[in-house]
Symmetry: C2
Subunit: 220 residues, 2 copies
């Protein structure tokens, strides 16, 4: 269950190669649909030889997810450390960081987003912990923004989830030759999200709601 990375110091390069092949295969065929034999063919390592580097197929997915989320989180924390205190600026930075990493590693991105609950408890917990940290940073920025701008009616949980939905769904439609690059996309989504948060969720609604009378509770 512990990371294979530490066990065999000299083997880092080859494990990295295997992990990158595995990422590509999981991306193409999904975790369940991918086979160790696929990985053997793609990586050039024999079927049995692979098991020198990891203990099971599931550990493979775990190592990929853990590495990516850890990197994503570390980059964000580093950037936020030397960033202004203004919540809007920090949120823009988070979005930029997220999309920057995702569009730079599109295959890993799909594996993170698509195989989010393919891991079983022993592995799943550790990944979930990192994800929770990442999620909480966004939520606390939004709580700050809510206080600063007095957005009484803002449900920050819904807002966070909506934002992550926008961002994580990208792997299903993004075409590098057709769509804007990561920075432009980050600006687009930042504007969309912040515009919506700041315009719609403050005091009175600026735009009419649904035409029928079913106005349920919107507040947090």
């Amino acid at each position: 269950m512990t990371a294979t990375l530490q066990r065999r110091p000299a083997a880092g390069n080859k494990l990295d190669h295997i992990l990158s092949c595995a990422t590509r295969i999981f991306c193409e065929k999904g975790y369940e649909g991918a086979s160790i034999r696929d990985l053997s063919r793609r990586s050039g390592v024999s079927l049995a030889g692979l098991y020198y580097y990891f203990e099971s197929k599931e550990e493979l997915l775990y190592l990929i997810q853990k590495h990516c989320f850890t990197t994503l989180l570390a980059r964000l924390e580093e950037e936020l450390g030397s960033a202004p205190r203004d919540p809007e600026a920090r949120l823009r930075l988070l979005i930029r960081n997220h999309l920057g990493y995702f569009l730079q590693n599109p295959e890993a991105m799909k594996v993170l987003a698509h195989e989010a609950d393919s891991l079983t408890p022993p592995y799943a917990r550790q990944v979930a912990d990192i994800k929770r940290s990442y999620y909480r940073i966004c939520r606390s920025i939004l709580d700050d923004l809510k206080r600063q701008r007095k957005l009484r009616r803002l449900n920050t949980r819904l807002a966070v989830m909506s934002l992550y939905g926008m961002m994580n769904w990208i792997y299903t439609w993004y075409k590098p030759r057709l769509d804007p690059d990561a920075d432009a996309l980050a600006d687009h989504m930042s504007d969309l999200f912040l515009g919506g948060i700041l315009a719609g969720a403050s005091g009175s609604a600026r735009w009419p709601r649904s035409r029928n009378g079913r106005r349920r509770a919107l507040a947090a």
Copy 2:
């Protein structure tokens, strides 16, 4: 490849039962991870008996996806038929329709969103056609809105994808006891999205963009 539904007129009930069991199983274990033996156990039909009702596991997924997307699209077209011409109202209606159906059929929703490209060409094409119709309705509403409000800088493709991302990601986080119901959620996302579109994408930017100077093209 043609729908099994028409071949055996009297068998509708049992096929429906099988499809609903299959939906639940695909939802729980994913398409690849689910086995026909799981379906046999859950539905109470013998392994061989199942194949009287469909031709392959893939046709099963196809039947589920086709039925759901067709229903979703039909409902939307019916509602839009007797709706006002105002693009904003029509967009709110689309969001309400989408979330209403999704939260009423959460297992099917996950199968639609998560197994979006588990089908291979013969089946995949037919589902893709229906999805394209559905997507185009949203896009044309947004094009109308863009014209009406003179939103020169709005990239409607990105906007549509962002909106669908927000909505389709719900299956990963929605908790019925914790989160607002479908109508309230639809209002929330409508406000967020419309607020963002109308505030951020018109003439000059109302809020500052990223702190560094990399201001790439945001326009369509």
